[in-house]
Point group: C2
Chain length 321, copies 2
């Protein structure tokens, strides 16, 4: 279970560490017999270089810390998974940490990570963003931090998601397809501007009526809002989350309300379940891959320059609208 070391290999072969190292790294200038002997020995004893030692010596890190919220919604899981995959393609491996609000635990975590990683990607959920305290703690460490989707952080790499673009397309689609009374359900601030933009982009004559029900955005909320939504007389409804939209769609299914004929439905987040429901849910998707590509770029660049970028969401039309 122990694993053999370079030194042991050098003793076994009677050659110096330097020679063994040279052979194992495939460098030139070693007499074939010696080379073969070392190779044979290494293979027999299953020599595997100790990366921890190598990285210490080279002051190099192949591990990237990822700090994410404790409770994750589907779309965050998707983002995380994609980032893990993209990291692997550039020889990095993700060390996962969860944010649970306890500063002492957070410090302890960063302590344990020190020397192991140089880069930390912070991807909290939007609803429970990282606290300013946590940001300050992070600053105490000699780490390059990349914040995903966090506002108001100075002097750090920050990649954000522009909710407006996708929502704007979604609402314009509803308007163009002739909907006259558009209802929005939800209370998430980042959804505001896209809706506004869509109305502004439509000339007054064709602009539909707009209503909003402020409410949490869980499945249950969507379900419970069913009667109010139907009473409102809306012929299209935008939900701040797919979960909430699914709640309503289940209410609709239970009450024989036909989607999209009677009422069109659009959600936000591109949850998997949206494809697993009948009719399939139109939604707004996050720019997962592009965003993570930018993360990788920063990690690779050994960034001197602080990166700030924003990525657009996109409307995905399915059967519900």
């Amino acid at each position: 279970m122990a694993g053999i070391t370079l030194k042991q290999l050098s003793e076994l072969s009677g050659l110096s560490i330097r020679t063994v190292s040279r052979v194992l790294k495939g460098q030139a200038h070693v007499v074939p017999e010696k080379r073969d002997l070392i190779l044979k020995l290494a293979h027999e004893h299953r020599y595997i270089p100790n990366m921890a030692a190598r990285n210490l010596r080279l002051n190099r890190k192949n591990i990237v810390g990822i700090i994410c919220a404790n409770t994750m919604i589907e779309v965050s899981i998707k983002k995380l998974h994609d980032l893990e995959t993209q990291l692997e393609t550039c020889g990095c491996y993700p060390l996962i940490g969860r944010l649970d609000g306890d500063p002492a635990k957070f410090r302890h975590m960063l302590d344990e990570w020190s020397g192991v990683t140089n880069h930390v990607v912070v991807m909290p959920s939007i609803t429970e963003g990282i606290t300013t305290e946590a940001v300050e703690i992070l600053r105490e460490y000699p780490l390059t931090t990349i914040f995903i989707d966090q506002k108001g952080i100075e002097g750090c790499h920050t990649l954000t998601i522009n909710r407006a673009t996708g929502i704007r397309s979604a609402i314009i689609h509803l308007i163009r397809s002739g909907r006259k009374k558009i209802l929005r359900c939800g209370d998430i601030e980042t959804r505001d501007s896209g809706l506004a933009a869509a109305f502004e982009a439509t000339d007054l004559a064709r602009r539909p009526e707009f209503m909003q029900i402020r409410r949490n955005t869980s499945f249950k909320d969507g379900f419970e809002l069913g009667p109010r939504i139907m009473d409102s007389g809306a012929d299209a409804v935008f939900f701040d989350t797919d979960r909430m939209a699914l709640g309503f769609m289940n209410y609709a299914a239970a009450h024989g309300i036909s989607i999209p004929d009677r009422i069109a439905v659009v959600g936000f987040d591109d949850d998997n379940s949206g494809r697993m429901i009948y009719p399939a849910l139109s939604t707004v998707a996050h720019p997962v891959e592009e965003l993570n590509r930018a993360v990788i770029a920063i990690i690779r660049s050994d960034g001197t320059r602080t990166v700030r970028k924003s990525f657009d969401t996109k409307f995905i039309r399915r059967a519900s609208s």
Copy 2:
């Protein structure tokens, strides 16, 4: 960005590394003035011990590798998340690797992990289990490997999940509530024995009729099977996965079929969406926490003894049955 070292601290203070170390580790026998000086210096320069170096020296690892399938279903994500959380409570952090079937990449990953971790937890999806080739590769490395839910692996820690217990309870519940024709939809082998057990446990007189439709277990399959299921005359249906059950429930909702009155529905996996649908889906849940507790126990035990344990699934009754 660089971070100060013990040596630099010793130079700064004019004291030996040993003394600095002693102070920083809170060990006794240091004159207060010197102690305070070092503490002050350490604080000013934000000294943070390099864990990579410490662990190398102490031959200790605080990182646990987790290898999981590339495509994960909801329940695997839940398991992974729980394991991450439990690991953190014992001061370990998870390094994530994905299994994509390429042996070269897999080797590369393990090479990169060498010296960083001693323990690897393998939790592939059940459907695309780990290949024997990957298992062999794993054996080449000086690692303690813990296999989750994998069959036929000798000489390694193996924790498995007993599907039968929960399914047996589920079916017995259906029988006891008076269902006469029970249909099973799906083709997953691990679901067989629990169903059989439930029928065997019921005396012949009360034993309902049993039918099976073999089929993939996606949402789409569940949806498409709608007509066949209704034609079958079944008054209860067990789906091999919640996803599949949800597909059928959406068919039912679209066709005004009342659940559970007309037909009772039970799924498997305890997906979140099952709670987000109307009516809420009865299901069989995996023993996530217990299983992961056992993982932690093995990691802590510095296991000489090979652990083999099985954990029971549990039936969760909700409104759909």
